[in-house]
């Protein structure tokens, strides 16, 4: 980031949430870079930025789309980069129909399920290939398959699979079905005027931002984007990021120093917990969890991950999968039994945390482990979370402090309102004290994919222990209890490799686990040796490895995550500090930092280049490319995998080696980012008849009500927009901050931030109390009246936004407590990654504290009835369109008729 010439921070409050990371922005600024902060609120990040652009929460696609439009209509894109490295020149097949023609949906939409069949988004296939361009096997239910996996999350490290790479390209970019022309047409109506009316950004300010980006991109300069949860926590969050990716590809800012899109993640190992996922839909290394009926055999499974004819390293997934299964099931896993592939449980849909919460309410879940998280405060619709906990048979909470999730049974707000009684809660609760980061050794993977080993400093106090020790011990006891079982279902547990060395205190050796993750040779001369690269993995069972992308972290038997060569003793890439996956690369796709012939785009932005004499890629980083592949190399038509990468295919994890402006696969809610309003919005979508993302995941239930939007009757009952966020002084749901006196003192009370105009409108006083009411709940907060929150003019109307930090919760154990902003939120999810929309919703605000006891419930229901909200409100998948449009949509490949579904017909939110 320090090398950027322009840094656009959007959807992130970087200075507050990542203060130390922000030093790199400061350093870029010291080198003369411009810093632009686009955010609904003026924050501590805005205070340091060159420009702050206030924006209406949830409208980022309009702004980014308008910049894309500006870049395309004025020929400001980086032409050579775009033609060579992106799919701009690639033709899309004839069946594709854009949202511009279907008033807000793409071709392939099925309104009954709210899902897309993405067949019509595919690339045009080259005529010289025969009829083998087929979808992989088991394709009779394409929508349920794409929906069931959280597709975008699964594709965390690479693009979606394609059947082949034999695409048709028009490098003049003129053919109307080139991605370039489709893009141009798609964003034509995203204009500065639209930005003004939808986002509330004046035209002059739009041009200032657009110019900053275009002036600071190209051969000589690069622009970097940084985002965080301000982009992800939306019902189309993944598309926000896609929009930025499109812009960055057009400007040639990917794979180059000072470019890219930085995801600023909020937890020490949140990257690691996706790489080695504690996530329902993934196995380690972004291998998907198998799905019932589609992945019945290993062969079915592998054929759907990647076609052998596509380009790149993902074609080696059979080796990664076999190595994982060997690591888990050891000698029991053999080629003859598909390496125990049958032992893996199967998915039948989405089993994310919110679906699970609702399953708890329905009595389907008996036991729940909560490990270093505080859903009673930190998850959306926290009230629903707390009520769900009371339906469990048993709950295990592992934490440092007695967080609200552990004490819900005695001091949750629902006890205060009289909804539940402690004596009636039948949940058995175990609280087990956890070890802190200095009381165990292990790795965190930080936000730039770097693993850093922590050495243990002291032993955990009292009965506290690490997760490593606890889960190892739990597994050992379960296996002991099952020993001798002849029940076939117990085989996976009994065959599990579960024998790790322990020290004299009984603590598990974390390095032994990291070695297993790295993987080893199992047979032959090198048997027992650790793998040095995932390219050594084999599909025949001769290698093991628990997470292929981490292979190399223990190369040569050396724990490379513990590398700590001081920064003064190495160059600025600092490759000898920690270890970044894959293969210690610091910038992904860095082949793109050189031109198609392999020369640096410019001296100033030199990073990785082709050394003609040596016949190798060289530079400041580990080249993210086959190191000896000549830039002029062209693969044979039938090649697949790494061999099929041409010398100018820098995006080696994409199935066609190119950066995707248009996503023919991989996104479940459309190949191009399209603006939809949030689940709750004060305005009607000015771009399309379709108000909300038609593919968002909805949960029509009586305990998940929404405000009407836009012109719908009742929307004025909740006239204000609120957004939730973090403060520097606290950490998420407060488990690691509200119990610490020094942090609590700095932000002791829950507050709301309002503009002076709104304060005057409703009679709020600085320092006084306010009650904020949403369609789900009501909370109270102290009032900060501040110019940092500005009313926006949206389509001629004044719109007020309210800021709510979400760190506080009700319990008696913390140093400070307060109402939780998450109580106000409902549950609606982005369909790609199943993240909830917490950055924008509707509310009312009034002076004074909230009522106590039952009165609180009455207040909430009084609002609900005034607004006339029911379980059907805001749960329409598609909005009414004229019959002619409905016909057109139906003709565009989707089964069923539009407008015929009502949400109440669905009892479940997901397929």
């Amino acid at each position: 980031m320090a090398n950027a010439d322009c840094v656009v921070i959007q959807g992130s409050n970087m200075a507050e949430c990542h203060p130390v990371g922000f030093q790199w922005v400061s350093e870029a600024k010291a080198r003369g870079a411009r810093v632009i902060h686009i955010d609904p609120r003026f924050t501590r990040t805005s205070a340091i930025a060159d420009t702050h652009v206030p924006v209406r929460a949830g409208t980022d696609v309009v702004l980014l789309g308008a910049i894309i439009n500006h870049v395309l209509s004025n020929d400001l894109y980086f032409h050579d980069y775009v033609v060579a490295y992106t799919n701009a020149a690639t033709l899309v097949n004839e069946d594709f129909v854009d949202t511009e023609d279907l008033d807000g949906v793409f071709s392939g939409y099925d309104p009954r399920t709210g899902t897309y069949d993405n067949a019509s988004w595919a690339y045009e296939a080259r005529a010289d290939t025969d009829g083998e361009i087929q979808e992989p096997a088991g394709d009779d239910e394409p929508e349920s398959r794409t929906r069931a996996r959280a597709a975008g999350q699964e594709l965390g490290s690479y693009g979606a699979p394609l059947e082949h790479a034999r695409v048709v390209r028009d490098e003049t970019l003129q053919h109307p079905r080139t991605v370039f022309q489709i893009l141009k047409r798609h964003y034509r109506r995203y204009t500065p005027q639209m930005v003004r009316d939808v986002c509330g950004i004046p035209e002059e300010q739009f041009y200032e931002v657009a110019r900053a980006i275009t002036d600071n991109s190209g051969r000589e300069r690069t622009t970097c984007f940084a985002y965080a949860l301000g982009w992800t926590q939306h019902s189309l969050g993944a598309q926000f990021i896609r929009a930025a990716a499109i812009l960055q590809l057009l400007m040639g800012n990917m794979g180059r120093p000072g470019g890219g899109i930085m995801a600023l993640r909020g937890h020490a190992s949140i990257q690691g917990s996706t790489d080695i996922p504690t996530l329902f839909n993934l196995l380690p290394g972004y291998l998907p969890m198998p799905v019932a009926g589609e992945h019945d055999t290993l062969e079915d499974y592998l054929s759907q991950i990647a076609s052998p004819l596509q380009k790149g390293f993902w074609t080696e997934s059979p080796a990664y999968t076999a190595s994982l299964l060997k690591a888990w099931f050891g000698d029991a896993a053999t080629p003859d039994n598909d390496f125990c592939f049958d032992y893996l449980p199967r998915l039948t849909g989405a089993h994310g945390t919110y679906q699970t919460t609702m399953a708890m309410l329905d009595g389907e879940v008996e036991g729940y482990f909560v490990v270093g998280q505080n859903p009673a405060v930190g998850s959306a619709h926290a009230r629903m979370q707390r009520l769900a906990l009371g339906h469990l048979k048993w709950l295990v909470v592992r934490d440092l402090q007695l967080i609200e999730t552990a004490t819900f049974w005695k001091d949750s707000p629902e006890i205060a309102t009289g909804e539940v009684r402690t004596e009636d809660i039948q949940t058995e609760v175990f609280f087990l004290p956890a070890a802190t980061h200095v009381e165990k050794s292990g790795t965190f993977t930080q936000t730039q994919r770097m693993l850093q080993w922590r050495h243990q400093a002291v032993r955990p106090p009292g009965e506290a222990q690490s997760e490593l020790d606890f889960f190892y011990e739990l597994g050992r006891r379960m296996r002991d209890k099952l020993a001798g079982s002849t029940d076939e279902r117990d085989r996976p547990l009994l065959d599990l490799t579960w024998d790790y060395p322990q020290d004299e205190h009984g603590e598990v050796d974390g390095e032994a686990v990291l070695r297993e993750i790295n993987g080893s040779h199992l047979t032959g001369e090198k048997a027992g040796e650790l793998l040095s690269s995932f390219t050594q993995m084999r599909a025949d069972g001769s290698t093991s490895g628990g997470c292929w992308i981490y292979t190399g972290v223990f190369a040569g038997g050396v724990n490379r995550s513990a590398n700590r060569v001081p920064r003064h003793e190495q160059d600025e890439v600092a490759a000898q500090w920690g270890w970044a996956w894959p293969m210690n690369r610091r910038i992904l796709y860095n082949r793109a930092s050189a031109d198609p012939q392999g020369r640096p785009w410019s001296e100033r932005k030199k990073y990785v280049w082709w050394d003609e004499e040596a016949g190798r890629w060289v530079g400041k980083d580990v080249p993210d490319f086959p190191v000896d592949r000549d830039p002029s190399f062209r693969p044979a038509p039938d090649d697949g995998g790494p061999a099929a990468l041409a010398g100018d295919d820098p995006f080696i994890m994409q199935a066609d080696g190119k950066g995707w402006l248009f996503a023919p696969k991989g996104m479940v809610d459309g190949p191009l980012p399209t603006h939809y309003e949030a689940q709750e919005s004060p305005v009607d979508n000015p771009l399309y008849a379709q108000q909300r993302n038609p593919s968002r995941l909805i949960f029509p239930r009586k305990d998940n009500l929404w405000s009407p939007s836009g012109e719908e009757p009742g929307s004025d009952v909740y006239p204000y927009v609120f957004t939730t966020y973090r403060l520097t002084e606290h950490h998420t749901a407060g488990g690691m901050s509200r119990w610490l006196p020094y942090l609590s003192e700095l932000q002791p009370e829950m507050f709301c931030e309002v503009s002076p105009e709104l304060a005057q409108e409703v009679g709020l006083e600085n320092g006084g109390w306010a009650t904020i009411i949403s369609a789900r709940s009501a909370i109270e907060a102290r009032v900060l009246v501040t110019d940092r929150v500005r009313p926006l003019t949206i389509a001629g109307r004044t719109l007020h936004q309210i800021g709510l930090p979400y760190h506080w919760g009700i319990g008696r154990d913390a140093v400070v407590e307060g109402d939780s902003a998450n109580d106000l939120l409902g549950v609606v999810l982005d369909p790609n990654v199943h993240i909830q929309e917490s950055k924008v919703a509707s509310c009312d605000i009034r002076p004074g504290r909230r009522p106590r006891g039952e009165e609180l419930l009455r207040l909430v229901s009084e609002y609900q009835s005034r607004a006339g909200t029911t379980a059907a409100t805001a749960h329409e998948r598609v909005d009414e369109v004229p019959p002619e449009m409905a016909r057109r949509r139906a003709a565009a490949g989707a089964p069923g008729e539009t407008g015929s579904t009502s949400a109440t017909a669905d009892t479940e939110g997901t397929g």
């Binding site: 507050e16 130390v20 003026f42 004046p202 002059e204 110019r211 000589e220 020094y742 002791p748 501040t786």
Partner: protein, 383 residues
Amino acid sequence: MGYLARQLAGRTDPAPDAGWQEAPERKGFFTDTSICIGCKACEVACKEWNAIPLDGLTLSANSYDNTGGLGASTWRHVAFVEQSRERIAEARESGRRLVELGMPGMGAPPAAVGGAPAGGSPAGYGTPPAPADGHGPDLRDMLASSTASRAGTSIAAGTAGASGAASPGTTVDGTPMVGALPDFRWLMASDVCKHCTHAGCLDVCPTGALFRSEHGTVVVQADVCNGCGYCVGACPFGVIERRTDAAVSVREDGHVPDVGIAQKCTLCYDRLTDDQTPACAQTCPTTSIRFGTRQEMVDIARERVTELHEQGFTEARLYGANDDDGVGGTGSVFLLLDEPEVYGLPPDPVVPTAKLAEMFRKAGLAGVGLLGAAALAFVGRRP
């Protein structure tokens, strides 16, 4: 200047004056508020290192400031000031006048280069200076690399026909760092004990609890202080205070240490004995707080204020860097973006004992006959 006079006012090196032979060079802070992000890491690191109790747990409703000000249990304090366009205009103007009055090291701002941005205007404060030693690259290196990268750009951009950017007042893309006045700004500033050259608290302390350290800093010895409180009234900045029992313990046993005892920043006296950086400067994520010899701090501060003025941020001014002020300059030097009062700092602090030497001299002359030569020799002898 007389021995006593020098001891109580004007330019001097305070550690040798206090009897330290071969004292190390005087130490100090430079707090550059133009790059402060208000994270309060300094407050926490200070409290954690010095095991300071809590000041209270109430929301002040004064922007993001909930610790209120420096006191017995808050030795670093971050102020938050929200300002409108009018106030920014006044600050810019008042700073410009300071230059005209001949503030050292500052020239007039250059004319804006290139076109101003179409709309809006920069809210931030240009380039932050580099971190202090052991804390990242050296300032001068960074300024040099900044110049080099601009030069590289402007050559390349020249051929590409893009806007050139060679002036220190513009970003890489040639945009002036200062455009039209912003509508709003949010100032953050970390305050701390000034460690005055002439420290009122020290000069009035009757017990020797306050002392001038070999580093030129002013430190309270809790084991000596009897809580008389003379120092509290003698500090022109209102920094030092006695700890009351309203402080809240952070310990398991509920104990609050040193109740009734005067407390303030020690400039991490203990850490300095082993050549370590004070806790606040060590942690500061943006190097807004820097630590070094006082002379180095003043030099960097001057360089920085000049740079900001060249960029057009004429609101920038230094505080505490003038050795001829009422306290003989301070060990903690600040770069402010508005009048000191805006941050709760006195505009013209004067040590209450400044005139003591003169008073003593007159009293001494009057009492010559009564006190005799020995007394005169003791008090008024020239060094």
